[in-house]
Symmetry: C4
């Protein structure tokens, strides 16, 4: 990893001539997070991960239109909240960057956003069965994740969020939550940091698969109570458990690097 990041560091330095360029650690998490989401099966060739610029909350970082598993530090562009790249470096932008822009606009607590076609989650986006908190790691799903339908929101380009208006409608459906499903399309997941958003996206995928299996057992499923959901948020913020986030991240990146080399 050392060698690889030495090179990435040199690239990042070369790129960071301007003052707007964020710190190396954030860039590294953003690249690593892309690889982890791919390695964990949340994204495939499509999907994307962004981070708000901590120096300028009206800007965010997002790769140009490459597959998450192939993203390098050199691919990361900086966007404003209208979805304009400050310097596109000749690259194509993700058509759906408005998902990120419009969530950052209305959710100051959100520092990172994942959009994916998470395969375990997709069935819940077309079903009357709600994706709900059933295991402790899935408490972020609350008592049921809202489902956004681009068709109902006036989308004219299939199910894609290709305009600021559709991004605003999606952000409104997300509300103050962590996850919003997108009918026939996937989901969008937010977090208080890149690592938290990536962890939330993976937890959503894992929880969805577990819920499917519990339902298939054919007897009633016990979901988390509102009180248990609230407690879990407290636990997640406790310093005794936040160590778990780093522990898991270290495993994820070690695994992704093994698989991607």
């Amino acid at each position: 990893m050392t060698a690889r990041w030495a090179i990435a560091g040199i690239l990042a330095m070369a790129l960071s001539a301007g003052p707007a360029r964020a710190d190396d650690a954030l860039m590294r998490d953003l690249v690593d997070g892309n690889h982890i989401l791919y390695d964990q099966g949340v994204v495939d060739g499509l999907g994307h991960l962004s981070a708000r610029n901590p120096q300028n909350p009206n800007h965010f970082f997002l790769a140009r239109a490459v597959a998450p598993g192939l993203v390098t530090a050199d691919d990361i562009l900086e966007y404003d909240l209208d979805g304009n790249a400050l310097d596109a470096k000749g690259g194509r932008s993700y058509v759906e960057r408005f998902i990120h822009a419009e969530i950052y606009r209305v959710r100051p607590d959100v520092m990172a956003v994942v959009h994916s076609h998470s395969p375990g989650v997709l069935p819940f986006g077309v079903s009357q069965t709600k994706l709900r908190a059933m295991v402790m790691g899935g408490a972020i799903l609350g008592d049921g994740v809202p489902v956004f339908d681009a068709a109902e929101a006036g989308g004219t380009f299939g199910f894609l969020i290709n305009t600021p208006q559709l991004g605003k409608a999606l952000a409104a459906k997300l509300g103050s939550g962590t996850v919003v499903l997108m009918r026939a399309h996937g989901d969008s997941v937010v977090g208080r940091s890149v690592r938290n958003a990536v962890g939330n996206a993976i937890a959503t995928e894992v929880s969805a698969r577990l819920q499917m299996q519990a339902i298939a057992l054919g007897t009633p499923v016990k979901y988390l109570s509102p009180q248990e959901i609230a407690n879990q948020a407290t636990v997640g913020a406790n310093p005794n458990t936040t160590g778990g986030e780093e522990r898991v991240w270290n495993m994820w990146i070690a695994q992704a690097e093994r698989h991607l080399r």
Copy 2:
């Protein structure tokens, strides 16, 4: 990749003495497409991928009878629409090359064909449940994929399409669609290019698995409306989204090459 393709290039040059031999890029996509279909689990040791010869629409390229994951540029043969190899190079031909030949004969828009025993798709070929467009990536499935039954079509060699007549019957069942299921056997999927056909075959496999899971949730499933299916075709042809095809292909081939080395 460079070294490997340098060798493939030399081979291709050696093979391309005659004027009928297509361009390197097509051969490369054909070899890569075979590896991708294997790596993505659409084909195993059986199944095949062909491309129409753009210089001679009455000819097509197809590997001799080797497993898709092991196909090299040297294995690619050129066939006429009666399924005769121009030069078999001492190799055995796929018994079912008539699938390709007869689809090319009646569908001038089709430039590539995949035949596989796609495991997610097989259950729909023996079920009264229709494989249908449920997610945007599966819009090619329309309001239900037709199922071909070789036994009903007079097949005398199990379920194999080993004669021009059976190939014609299969092509008729495909009609103007993109996918045709084959009872107890698999499916055949077409596209406007090798990359498009490979992408369609993978989308069919992925969509089938998602539909199974949505059904297993036990509540009604919302499928794409006819209007949404039609819209999706427009989106797929739009230059703003066709970039997605290349993005995904780059990921697929990078992944397949990692796994196959």
Copy 3:
């Protein structure tokens, strides 16, 4: 592969001093078959594959008690039909070698036997739902695979086939078929060669998974008719399709060697 088999060849030569030692090709298929069954998920640390000695039909070859994925040519022992190793070479024998011995005794057509805890198959061994021919590759399952219950057959050592009597009872339940399920335990699968038996074991696993998924779609499943089952046996024996066996075997061993190195 060359280097590895050069070494294996030397070992085989060293071992083949006596006249009973079979040819290199059979030993190679036996070792490769063990690795393939492991790589394809039919066996894990347990399970075994044997081959009848073509020079002496009352003897068979079977590894000493090592995990299939770790079997080398040096591990292969020769047994008589009472389950005695001619030379145990200090190794422990599989407790269940009587499965092989007693099937060889009553089925002269059988040249190889696989016993495994094939995970897709196990659910059918404890269910009233019959494992049946539903796809062409699963025609060997006929109109329903018999289920052997060691408990009913007087087994006193759990479900293990640790005596000639239990082996005889299992062979009787297999009858003239290709597959016999073993309740709470796994299955045993036979073939006319090592490659055929390995192929049959994998086809059984794959077919079982497909049947589970077809059933989960919730609508009636169309199985192969008796006529279709009979036709499929004819197709399998036809020289035009037997090429498929070699094609698939080449892929399987290439894949297993990649994964095991």
Copy 4:
């Protein structure tokens, strides 16, 4: 493996200055067991494996808070039954070490404990369907595994076993059994050795998946009878079958080392 263990051996020697430090073989099984549980999908970034100190039954060995797949001999700490590390070496401890401590306190026969979020098992922890012995390898599940609910046991920190009291309540629910499910959380599995506990944890995961699939077939499932469950325990203790444990362990560690290098 030689090189790696030579290094681990040197580390272990350096660490074993004090007389309480256990033998190399146990440390090696503990590290290997962590890697195996990760490679087999029983644990991901979370979960842990401990071993009672054979020289001091009131102490046990457990890694500091790192992901199981990344555990090295240097990470192993020694704890007393109140969950205090003798020398934390500056590392953070697993919040849930009380699971291990309190089981060792009341179960002198237990020499190793696994705690995990075993994905096949989780659905049974929130369902009215009991996880039961259905296949011979799952006889340890008996006629139904008890489910512990931290919420009912007065847990105030989500579902985590972060106090001796909760550990005691969990150990009481385990009783004299081998497996206890933990609602919305995972399970804890014990054994008479590290290898036995790891084997039991994997058998629990595998059995759970098989039971789900058998249920999905939609017809009644035949479970092991009380007599069959009892017999199986006898078989497991027989010298003719304990060879199987070593055979499987050798395969597991070979596979984990291939995947982790």
